[in-house]
């Protein structure tokens, strides 16, 4: 799985993502790409936009990173069906760049919240969640001040009816209730995918929950799902070459 992790000035979860993919998942072809690069490189399977505070969150979170030189190629890659996952600030960048609908605003409480939350898996028919089961509850940390997902009524209805909500904040038992919503997100939304199913953003940090020693390995199935989907692609490639 050729994975490229984009580094913006102010990214601070880039090494966490790198560790999760390179060391825990043991995928050797994992590298960083500096935001000034004009290209993400050839034959990339997965692009990760990591968490952090790109450009100090100036203007709006993700708003300036979205115009970094490398983003042109990330957007091209995504529009051609390439797999992109944005975590936390990466999710904000994806919304600002228009690759995902909606936008993330200040937490309802106005507080930066750093704690473990529970997520209910809403759909497993994606390359990001195929290793999970529907309703599966994951324990994954959040660390954000602006994770409050909003969209217009029409856009929200469209996201819901198209099955684009991947994770919702829930109780440990999987009940999607107001008290389990840390930031005020509409419909307890914690992660969404685009219509084509190749661009995914989530506020919680799966890369920080890939080893028991860190308190949870519930984030690992997301990366395992991705690897599985690329192995299938590779098998197709090999079969096509053999034919």
């Amino acid at each position: 799985m050729r994975t490229r992790i984009i580094q913006f000035p102010g990214s601070n979860c880039d090494h966490d993502a790198y560790h999760a993919v390179k060391n825990v998942l043991a995928e050797p072809d994992t590298e960083f790409v500096w935001h000034k690069s004009e290209t993400i490189g050839e034959d990339v399977d997965l692009v990760i936009l990591p968490g952090g505070f790109s450009y100090g969150d100036y203007l709006r979170t993700g708003a300036i990173a979205r115009f970094s030189p490398v983003m042109k190629d990330v957007i091209r890659f995504a529009n051609e069906g390439g797999t992109v996952i944005g975590i936390c600030n990466g999710f904000q960048v994806l919304c600002e760049s228009g690759l995902l609908p909606g936008v993330l605003i200040r937490n309802e409480s106005l507080k930066f919240i750093c704690k473990e939350v529970h997520l209910r898996t809403e759909t497993v028919a994606t390359r990001f969640t195929s290793a999970l089961t529907r309703g599966h509850v994951l324990k994954i940390p959040i660390a954000h001040g602006e994770g409050n997902f909003i969209a217009t009524d029409e856009v929200l209805a469209d996201i819901e009816s198209s099955g684009q909500v991947i994770f919702r904040y829930a109780s440990p038992d999987g009940d999607v209730v107001r008290s389990a919503n840390p930031n005020g997100s509409l419909n307890n939304i914690a992660g969404i995918v685009n219509k084509d199913g190749n661009v995914f953003g989530m506020m919680p940090h799966p890369e920080r929950a890939c080893e028991i020693i860190l308190g949870s390995s519930d984030g690992l199935p997301i990366f395992e799902s991705l690897r599985e989907s690329f192995n299938h692609v590779d098998e197709h490639r090999l079969a096509a070459q053999a034919a």
């Binding site: 203007l59 708003a63 936008v103 605003i105 200040r106 937490n107 309802e108 409480s109 969209a151 005020g184």
Partner: protein, 93 residues
Amino acid sequence: MSYYVYIAIERKEAILDPQGKAIEHALSSLGFTSISNTRIGKLVRLKVEAASPDAARHIGEEAARKLLANAIMEEFSVIEVTDQPHLSVGAHA
């Protein structure tokens, strides 16, 4: 010519403004009970090289559309185009 273009950016009315709400709480505890619907926005000043105030305004609007405001949650308006680095209304009179 260079002009100063002032752009106000506000959150759409339908979108919750937790900062505005917090400030309103503080104001009300100070006794400002007649104040309501407090909202926080941004004021951006750009120095623009352009042939005319209208051309400068146009460039400011383009900048706002492309970067300064997010149309999903915000609305913007150019509130003044002037050759002075301050707003004419009330300021530095």
